[in-house]
Amino acid sequence: MPKRLLVVIMTIAVVLASASVMAAGVRTFTFYHDNPEWQDNWTKIGEVSAQEIGIKMEPVPYDTEVYKTRIKTDLPTSRAPALFKWWFAYRAKELVDAGLVEDLSEVWDAAGDNVAAGLRQALSFGDFAYGAVFLSDYWVWYYSVPLFEKYGLKPPQTWDEFMDQLAFFKSQGISGIGNTIGKSRWTSFIVFQEILYRIDAGFYNDLMAGRAHWTDKTVVRAMEIWKEMLDKGYFAPMDARYVEDFPGMFKRGELAYAPFGDWYSSILMGGGLKPGKDFDICILPAITEKGQGAIITEVSPLIVGKNSPDKDLAKEWIEWWFSSPKAAEARWDLLHPVPWDKLTPKEVVGKSNPEFVTIMKLTENYPNKLIRFWEATPVEIVEHAVDQFEQMLIRPSTYKQILDSMEKKATEVWPKYGVKY
């Protein structure tokens, strides 16, 4: 008995000693994000990296309402997060211009061709790579499968066919498009974006870059199409919420379409809907030839805070995030993003979520990747636009005043960015 007890005590001592040695060898850093729903998954990913490379990423979740403020107040100080999730393009530019983020060019160099082509460019200003990839999404149109099956419909092949479908849904008392302002003002830009680039993708880029004006005839045409759709009552009630209400409306056949990034799949699935059975995705046809082959993309970057004492750890960790098969496996198992690397086996993706295979196939026919409106143009213009577009959704007849107001704002903002407007 004493011998057994001795063995047990010794075993415990050895386990504790090795654990403490291991713990002593593991270096940690913090990662700020605004997706509390993914906190457990991020924690697990941190544990995977701790086991493989001895660097533990410790996630800290924040509510989106306070997230931007927290990041912006901490970044200039030594409390700066080592790693944080952010938005790309103009939303990241102010941080880059203020010299608050690390250049990740070396990390990208080390990643080689593990990451899909074009993403480095999307997360760079000139030679300065300010971010690593977290998510890379395409903007598609979700539709209610039960509804389409009930009426024997298929996703439209032409814009006119789309309009006919919306008119049909209206006649049946069904909401055609789920694009509302409920409690999320940011969503008000979506339909404008979706119409404008389908009229002329090149013009969309020009408007976003300050080379075209908000009062130009292409924008007016987009607004008139939008106005007509609103006047005809093709939209869901404006107080419906896209997280809480749309999934149920889809399932009950009360809502036909909703335009979102492909991240919306996880929200629908979180609402108990099954891909292929309750919802599916399509890409709407262009309105004119100039809109063909274009699709909106959204990239969520992971950024390293320059003033963080742990910034080198975070960079080492990103190298692992980009190159380790175990990182890719954990990423897929836990977060289910549309794969953006060569390490995630496509057959695994197809088995687990056929939606993503559909998205990847569909997007092959859309080589012209455009940046989402939210990030494509200066923040001041976007923030003004989403308020103006809210007004459009409730008072479509004011669209000319809205465009005048946008033009005034753009005239005021662009010179600050060195653009002669």
Partner: protein, 292 residues
């Protein structure tokens, strides 16, 4: 007097003074200072003089927010105070008074955030209690997204506030009513005064101090109105129902114009201080009168 006796009163005052200094005086001073700066959090604050304060008078949205705040003050004054007084008189002294007091006071115990969510659901289209009732009664033509109608949503939200906080005013009025000496009422009745005359000429004047207190309390709380309109519609749609407090929050924490947000905060504080000062002046003789 020993030195320790001389300093001991100050030592006793110190905890309260430090609490006020660090939680109120310093943040308030810093806010006033920020009102003269331009600061987006990521670049150091830079001096802009009085431009943020000048902008207060030039920004059309601020005028809209001020008007909405005045609607809130008027609405809560007329209904939140007057209705509470009428109900207090109605339930005072009746057998089932305790039941009604509990019913009216219960919503006060909820947090405004929960009350906001509750009323959001009532007015929502998904499916929403109001719209469901309209459908039951065959009034489908009136079904709508109530809170998305900028011409009425402020009134609906004021209604939500009254539902929640009228109970508090009612209890205060009941305390006032119960402190009125019965002899005054009885003497009036002996002199032939009817119920209306007794209420107008005896009860109401004697309730004046408590009425002033209720009005002051309601007004000061309403000037800072944020939670219910934020929870229910985020000041929308298209900013039509923003109050001054929501505009301040938006500028400071969503648009990162901390300087302008601070100037709005100072403006709100100035209004609140003005109202408090005015009412304290009015209240002082009333309270002194009661004591005398």
């Amino acid at each position: 007097m020993k030195p320790i006796q001389r300093v001991s009163p100050y030592l006793f005052l110190m905890p309260a003074f430090l609490a006020v200094l660090f939680s109120e005086l310093l943040p308030a001073s810093y806010t006033i200072y920020l009102g003269f700066m331009s600061w987006n959090y990521i670049s150091p604050p830079s001096w802009t003089g009085i431009s943020n304060y000048v902008r207060l008078f030039l920004e059309p949205q601020l005028l809209k927010s001020l008007v909405n705040t005045l609607y809130w003050i008027a609405g809560t004054f007329v209904f939140g105070v007057a209705l509470a007084l009428i109900l207090a008189v109605a339930v005072n002294g009746i057998k089932t008074g305790a039941f009604f007091k509990t019913v009216f006071y219960l919503p006060v115990t909820l947090s405004p955030a929960i009350a906001g969510v509750f009323w959001y659901v009532v007015y929502s289209t998904q499916p929403g209690a109001v719209n469901s009732l309209l459908r039951i009664f065959g009034l489908n033509q009136y079904v709508r997204a109530w809170l998305m109608d900028g011409s009425i949503n402020t009134y609906l939200m004021i209604g939500s506030w009254i539902w929640q906080f009228m109970g508090l005013n009612l209890i205060l009025f009941l305390v006032g009513l119960q402190s009125i000496p019965k002899e005054f009422i009885e003497a009036a009745q002996v002199d032939g005064a009817g119920p209306n005359s007794t209420f107008l000429h005896i009860t109401l004047p004697l309730l004046r101090p408590i009425t002033m207190l209720v009005i002051a309390n309601t007004m000061i709380n309403t000037v800072r109105m944020f939670d219910i309109p934020w929870i229910m519609v985020h000041g929308g749609p298209a900013r039509v129902s923003e109050t001054l407090a929501i505009t301040m929050y938006r500028e400071s924490f969503l648009l990162f114009n901390m300087g302008f947000g601070s100037a709005i905060a100072v403006f709100i504080s100035a209004i609140t201080l003005l109202l408090s000062w005015r009412y304290l002046r009015v209240l002082r003789p009333e309270i002194s009168g009661l004591k005398g």
